[in-house]
Amino acid sequence: MSTPTNALTAVQIAAGVRSGQLKAVDVLEQHLARIDTREGEIHAFNLVLADQARAAAAAIDAAVAAGNDPGPLAGVPVALKDNMCTHGVPTTCSSKILDGWKPPYDATVVSRLNAAGAVTVGKTNLDEFAMGSSTENSAFGPTRNPHDITRVPGGSSGGSAAAVAAGFASVSLGSDTGGSIRQPAALCGVVGVKPTYGYVSRYGLVAFASSLDQIGPFTNTVQDSALLLDVIGGHDPMDSTSIPAAQPSLMAALDQGVEGLRVGRITDLPEGADPDVVERLEAAFDALRAAGATIVDVQVPAFSYGLTAYYLIAPAEASSNLARYDGVRYGLRVNAADTNAMYGVTRAAGFGEEVKRRIMLGTYALSAGYYDAYYGKALKVRRMIADDFDRAYQQADVLLTPTSPTVAFPFGAKGDNPFAMYLCDVYTIPTNLAGHPGMSVPFGTGAGGLPVGVQILAGTLGEPQMFRAGAALERAMGAAK
């Protein structure tokens, strides 16, 4: 199924609500009705906040009636990945170890959405602690792809991608550590953006790998993603890695077109993408060329080492970050005779298999005697990847690659081979290591009529160029319809 034909974009909803032509409560009820109809088979949410959302929407309408402006996201129904802290509202990370935990504060992105008039409809499902590429690793059961419920929505932000694709929310937020926004966006046929590291505050985002994690939007249109990033982006004193400079409006960049934009083709990109995905990528190059962009060949030799560097660095950081789940301050505790034994049985009972695997991999990579051989070496490869990208961005403004090597795959397709699952992110991971932005834009369909996404990459703070290219691809798709 595709987006409901009567659906308005977030930009249109906000404009309608602000002008009084639309009621936020009516917009919300339409989304809640779709949740009622299809959430049972999709399972996009860990928690639907219908009552809270109704109260918020009514308050927005009251503000408009009183002559006040509720803000740039007035009445826009938004879904939040369930690893973003919401004050007094359960935040689980789809893990048994946090089941029932109510954070004592809001994440910065949540505060900014609320201040902009957005209406939160629920907390979405994810691979436990955002570790996975299919949302199969959730302690609360998998999310299904709205386009074909026998297939995965991608991951780890599968619930947020499915919520937008199914019309449960107008927009949603996810987090992307190695592709967890872009890959599910591609598999669910929506736009997904991972901004430059430091563009969006991580305060209140439950940490997985702190040097890689970034929050970003899922939307039906490129313009909606620009609107959302204009709201949630920008400096936050609560996150010491937040970029201190003000960011230019991405909404303003959209109108600039791609005339003269240099679009890079990575000639030494790792192989392995399915033919239907490659065909759509080629069509995307053609579309940008037709829109006035110049296609240039570039090389990123270290790209292919991204997977190895990532699967040493991310688990190493995770093993440290997840040490906080110790049964003392929040979440699950399994009692034992002494505190040390309590740690071991609590963590064994609370974490799922993939999380345990990554904690152990990371612990090993950091352990005495192996640090230099694994973690230390991975950090050097990370530098090589970033340097190679920087050289490529001297020749090209943006790079185009597949987002995912395949369309959405059936449940269980990766079996119990962790490495097969890791390969889903071969094209998205290097960007996280470099700290650069990337976005996935739906660009037609592949095998079985399933959505295919094209990935646009840019250098540090290259969001305006990236959005220009994304908007051009979207226009080309619109013209082809």
Binding site: S211, L312, R329, G331, R333, R357, I359, M360, L361, K380
Partner: protein
């Protein structure tokens, strides 16, 4: 086994055996970087060049203690309560 202990994960022998096998398989894949000459490459810890962040020493409200302690598995008299720490370590 040692790694599971370091990671404070009390796993059964079967899980340890399966995980050891899987980790060994992954480390084989990761051997692709062994051939790289990395002698002159500086390690990259984070993407954005960080400087120390200072702020004015202004007192702001912290988290509500009652609310924080209410989320704990066990709390007593304004503090987190844990099982015995000393004397029972196996």
């Amino acid at each position: 086994m040692k790694v599971a202990k370091l990671a404070r994960l009390d796993l059964d022998p079967e899980t340890i055996e399966r995980t050891t096998e899987q980790l060994a398989g992954m480390l084989e894949h990761f051997a692709d970087i062994d051939a790289l000459d990395l002698r002159d490459v500086q390690p990259m810890n984070q993407p954005y060049p960080l400087v120390n962040v200072f702020r004015e020493d202004i007192i702001v409200a912290g988290l509500d203690r009652t609310e924080v302690l209410a989320a704990a598995p066990d709390a007593d008299d304004g503090r987190f309560r844990v099982p015995p720490i000393l004397g029972l370590d196996s």
